[in-house]
Symmetry: none
Subunit: 228 residues, 4 copies
DNA sequence: GATGAATGAGTATTCATTCAT
DNA sequence: GATGAATGAATACTCATTCAT
């Protein structure tokens, strides 16, 4: 069984490249899906995606074996953006503002994308995506964290997984307040950033240990509702 | 001539109590719904609830005229618990710890209950109830906030709606870690509480104004995926 | 198995009479059914009939084994009214006006009763009712017809079944025009009566033989939609 | 980019024709629907139609978006037949026999088709179509009537709506005798035609005014059992 | 005998997925 | 390879009928 085509940015194996027209269709479908999922959420039917992309439904299924696979492919393309953000974060004048930049940009991306937020929040699709995301971006985030801690600008008891988690949290706030106040997440980012600063006078040590790297995915898999 | 089982003007006197066996089934259904909704969200079919409760689908519809009515009935029982928590919060030794107690207990309840969170956040069902809940609890939370601010224990720029919002965020985002670490949200509550403390040395003022009381619901309603 | 209780006007066997309270309930149910079926047609649920009658649904089923049986019982009570009309018709000054009186009164009854019209038109219930009706009233109608023909006031080629059929026809017109013009049937009754007068100059003999007594019911049974 | 199968502005050019197999199935469905609706009325479920047509239920819904659309499609094909009949009626040797021809042919069509009668009489589905049909045919019938009256062959107090109404009555009431004698309605058509002839010696003028053109539909709409 | 609780087959419609053209 | 036709399980809800209280 041939492995799935994982798109342009895949740096692992590189499956046999698609014929030119097939690749064009693949892109069209991804673009249509991005647009429609973003605006109307993951519940839209693939028929509608196909219509939007100007291809037949059969073509969608030729490129993506299931709806889930399409959603995952979409998510993958975002990971590239995330990696780019992390890269930029290292160019910041100091470690703390680099970390802040990273979190801000992440929240911004999510604020504009209903489909992405639904993936993160409900994990109806893409159970393993968080694992993939972590593997791909964890090292970058980890270095951002460690740099800031080395500079004495970040609590010592925070971990790379915490940063990811906080971004989820912000995504959630985005989801809830989007219509009323599109930038609402900034309010809580600030609050959290204040809390993230290193101890000065009697700071409360964080209770409960951080998640171990693999635990988050395992947890998600169990908590998320099965597909109907 | 026997009157109808649920008289129109009830709510005060309560309708004639159900027959013993009917009441037993009603409870079974509520329990099944609580369990299934909690674990898998509000999208599960009533057929499945019925199967879980060991009754026919007709029985479910005899007790609850629509799925919405069942969801609301379930929610009603939670509402009392919430009010009780706010009451207890006032008995705390000082305003700050009262507020912390409230947030902790609320997060605890909500973290364990996917169905409840979906009701509160997407209001696909029971929209009126969410309004009722807010009206019922908002003044209590408001007093908790003001007391803490008057005592110099809480940032001046936080509002009642922020408190509720933060609890939502914690409960919802923690769904991801639920299985691995049911109390994982406490980690971020601590972080946020630290950020909630009043300014000492150069605290960042919160950007973006808080939501006005009515805005939150409006926003949630718009953010929610439309009913299919 | 005890035969069904066929109500007060039954003159054939007279089954064991009901207990007083049972008989009262039976009447209540029939009255409620008459009212509700008349106004809203035969599609209303028996639950609603029971509520209207102030009895439990179980009681309805104790008195009438199926919905069909209730509908039939209701129809039976009308047959008495029909018989009474025929009786009066014999008191008319001349045979022709007696026949006209009969047809007019029949149409009048049906004009006020949606349920009855539905029974006649769709025969969704009560397949055998027309047979019963014929057996009970045919001799009366037959005499009305023969008297008028003997007096030279009615075409010779009309039969008793024709009169019944024409009444059906009028019922149909009632059904269609009821809302716009409650007495609309009179328009066609007149037209038909004119056509029913005996031949004077070159009248067209009626084509197609009349139905034999048993044929009408047989036909109805086949044509009417089966119960869903 | 291929355009949608059914362009918005069609009706004139017609949408792109269906694939051969799709067209075959469409026909199968229409045939099955015609047969089943004719015999058992419009209340049969689409599941049953699908079974009858030997296709899946999804296929039915792919061709006809709702039950109503299927019913209307069926009706459309009949409408042409009706118009053709009116046209032929004008070719008759004299006005009276043209009118008779029209009534005869109409009754013939309708007597054989329960579904068609239900559409025309109760308009539970396809209300707009009935309006269309009337607008299309009313002028033709009106001319048939006026011609006959001008020739002194038809009562002066009959109107176009009466003609249509009488055909309904015949077709519908004859359902009762359908199986026994498919042409039974001819008996009453004759009777009525005799009554329709102009006054010679002491004819009874028709009481109750005829329906105005719009009233008939309004009435039918009100008489029809509400959709469940 | 009366009550009303319980049952489940049946309804129109949607949509992910498979397969013939 | 592309297309779109076909499929059928699933959903919320109703109602005639049966049965325990």
């Amino acid at each position: 069984m041939p492995e799935r085509a994982t798109g342009s940015g895949d740096g692992v194996t590189g499956p046999r490249p698609l014929r030119r027209d097939a690749e064009r269709n693949r892109q069209r479908i991804l673009e249509a899906a991005a647009e429609v999922f973003n605006q109307r959420g993951l519940d839209v039917s693939l028929d509608e995606i196909a219509r939007h992309a100007g291809v037949g439904i059969g073509t969608v299924y030729r490129r993506f074996r299931t709806k889930e696979e399409l959603v995952e492919a979409l998510f993958m393309t975002r990971l590239d953006a995330v990696a780019a953000i992390a890269d930029q974060a290292f160019a910041a004048p100091d470690p703390w503002s680099g970390l802040v930049f990273f979190m801000e940009r992440m929240a911004e991306i999510m604020a504009g994308d209903l489909g992405l937020r639904q993936i993160l929040m409900f994990a109806t699709y893409g159970r393993d995506l968080v694992a993939v995301a972590r593997e791909r971006n964890a090292p970058l985030v980890e270095r951002l964290v460690e740099r800031a801690q080395a500079a004495g600008q970040l609590r010592d008891d925070l971990r790379q997984t915490d940063i990811v988690f906080i971004v989820f949290l912000l995504a959630e706030s985005t989801q809830l307040a989007q219509a009323a106040s599109p930038d609402f997440w900034r309010r809580y980012l600030t609050l959290i950033l204040d809390g993230m600063r290193p101890a000065r006078e009697g700071i409360t040590p964080l209770p409960v240990p951080p998640l171990l790297p693999g635990e988050m995915e395992k947890s998600m898999r169990q908590a998320s509702p099965r597909r109907r």
